[in-house]
């Protein structure tokens, strides 16, 4: 039997990513200075970003596809990777978690996300998802002498494993119905067979697994604990990367494979989206730890982004992607400010910060405004763009609910601002400045402001 050698051009980004991750594992033994590994990681990410646009195409017998949809998501993953490496360089030294595997695992997790975005077959999708998930479990627990970090890792691991078992059961039912795991062929099959109870069951199981990954209510239970316990740099990484990857696969699987039951899944997702926005925004109000608050805020943002999927139009999907792109910058920026402060995990640590460290406070103000969605920041553009698309799709009532919850969110975001500018200082706030961290903050704040002032950069 003659097996043709697959065309490797479309997978070159993933190959480079995986090879560099493996190389980092070996180089870790040679270099005592882990900063070199970080630099190599950034170089690999830059190389991937450079060759990505040229990687269009399909390969491995149609299991892997690199199209403009996946490439846009891969850009988000690479930006997430680069910013995470920049913010974690000094931070993990401070946290005594400077193991060489750290950077390697970040690269592996990114490679997994890239595979997910490019999966045209459910097998590849599952493998990518597990590569991402397994790497993030370890990263969440990388502070192995810290009980909180251990606890975060074990909680993430147990619920992640549970959700991937649900995903697999859904896939196996789908395979039994259609004799294939190719997403596009599944769609053809399902059009011919029509709607059955088994199909709905498998759709629900797959949806639950993906909703776990994006931390949508009622599958959000793990998020606050994991976000709080994990090292802050990893929290930033997790709140953007796996979430974007989850949305990438939801978009791909639901829009193609489950096209003929669109009304069914839209109904389910509407309920989930409303619940997610409610849980995220209301529970964020009572938090005293800023990492927990940002965890609930990221749950709330998942709710808004789900509206883009619900819209069911190309415009909605595009708005969702733009939202995720902007969200990456504003969220990592906020976490970078948490990292820069010596003691910045509690909300009370921010009291009087503006008098003591005016620049840090001003930067935090920009990110909080952006997360709330106040112009002229990028967060406003993201929300405006998304809500316009959803209104055009005919879900005006849903947008009204989203805007109401968005108004609630101003309470807890602006409470940080109020703490910084209107409360008396209790103690001097020490900061840990490093060139890489400053660079990350500079990139994020510039992107947030530039997109906010010139939205044409990302829209259209």
């Amino acid at each position: 039997m003659n097996i043709p050698f697959p065309d490797l051009r479309p997978v070159t980004p993933e190959i480079i990513m995986t090879l560099s991750a493996t190389a980092l594992l070996i180089l870790e033994l040679i270099f005592k200075n882990k900063g070199v590994l970080a630099f190599i990681g950034i170089l690999a990410a830059a190389a991937v970003m450079y060759i990505m646009p040229a990687s269009m195409g399909e390969t491995f017998g149609g299991m892997f596809i690199s199209d403009s949809y996946s490439i846009f998501f891969k850009f988000i993953f690479i930006i997430n990777l680069i910013l995470t490496i920049l913010i974690s360089l000094r931070y993990i030294q401070r946290q005594k978690a400077e193991y060489g595997e750290y950077y390697s695992l970040l690269l592996f997790a990114t490679a997994g996300m890239m595979l997910m975005a490019s999966a045209k077959d459910l097998i590849i999708l599952y493998l990518g998802l597990e590569l991402m998930a397994l790497s993030t479990y370890i990263l969440a627990g990388i502070k192995r002498h810290d009980v909180k970090s251990n606890e975060a890792a074990i909680k993430y691991f147990l619920l992640g494993g549970f959700s991937s078992a649900l995903l697999l059961y859904g896939i196996s039912l789908l395979y039994g119905m259609t004799t294939t795991t190719d997403i596009y062929k599944i769609a053809e099959h399902l059009k011919a067979t029509g709607v059955t109870t088994t199909l709905l069951l498998s759709m629900i199981l797959i949806a639950v697994a993906f909703l776990f990954k994006i931390a949508a209510a009622p599958f959000h239970m793990w998020a606050p604990d994991v976000y709080e316990g994990a090292p802050t740099s990893i929290t930033a990484f997790m709140s953007v990367g796996p979430k974007a990857a989850g949305f990438a696969v939801i978009g791909r699987v639901f829009y193609t494979a489950f096209q003929n039951i669109q009304t069914d899944w839209t109904t389910i997702l509407i309920g989930i989206a409303i619940l997610t926005m409610a849980v995220g925004n209301i529970l964020a109000i009572v938090q005293t730890n800023i990492k927990r608050m940002l965890a609930y805020s990221s749950i709330a943002h998942a709710g808004y982004i789900l509206l883009g999927i619900i819209a069911g139009t190309t415009e909605g999907l595009n708005a969702m992607m733009t939202y995720l792109f902007i969200y990456a910058f504003m969220n990592i920026g906020a976490f970078a400010i948490v990292i820069i402060l010596d003691r910045g995990e509690e909300l009370s640590d921010y009291e009087g910060l503006a008098k003591n460290r005016p620049l840090v406070a001003a930067l935090m103000l920009v990110f909080m405004f952006s997360l709330t969605g106040i112009p002229p920041t990028a967060g406003f553009i993201a929300k405006f763009n998304l809500f316009t698309a959803v209104i055009k799709a005919g879900y005006t009532w849903l947008v009204i609910i989203a805007v109401m919850f968005s108004a609630i969110s101003a309470y807890y975001y602006l409470r940080v601002v109020m703490n910084m500018y209107m409360k008396e200082m209790k103690q001097e706030a020490a900061i840990h400045l490093s060139p890489s961290l400053s660079l990350a903050i500079l990139i994020t704040v510039l992107m947030v402001l530039i997109i906010g002032i010139m939205p044409s950069m990302v829209i259209g």
Binding site: I123, L134, I138, N150, I154, S172, Y175, D225
Partner: protein
């Protein structure tokens, strides 16, 4: 020949046992076993489908699932060992550093 429905029924029963075990039991090791049970029930149904549909994809998928499950178990136990070193606990009730 054993009909396909029996295999699918068996797989569904094992899956539900695993799911209930995961939700009801509080010992992390038992929860890990429950996840393995769920994964193996999927393997049964995939192999059964693969045989009855005369399509090899299902069996290929099973190999991948077995491999990933092994990696997952290794990582899960490693995390549990790290946790156990800091705090001798395997019950979810005892692991409650964070709440809210």
């Amino acid at each position: 020949m054993v009909p396909l429905n029996w295999y699918i029924g068996l797989s569904a029963v094992i899956f539900v046992i695993g799911m209930v075990g995961f939700i009801v039991r509080k010992n992390i090791l038992i929860m890990l076993m429950s996840i393995e049970l769920m994964l193996n029930s999927v393997n049964i149904s995939l192999v059964a489908f693969s045989h009855y549909l005369q399509d090899l994809r299902g069996q290929v998928f099973v190999f991948f699932i077995i491999t990933v499950a092994a990696a997952e178990a290794a990582i899960g136990l490693a995390i549990l060992v790290a946790l156990f070193k800091n705090k001798a606990a395997v019950h979810t009730d005892e692991i409650m550093e964070m709440k809210g």
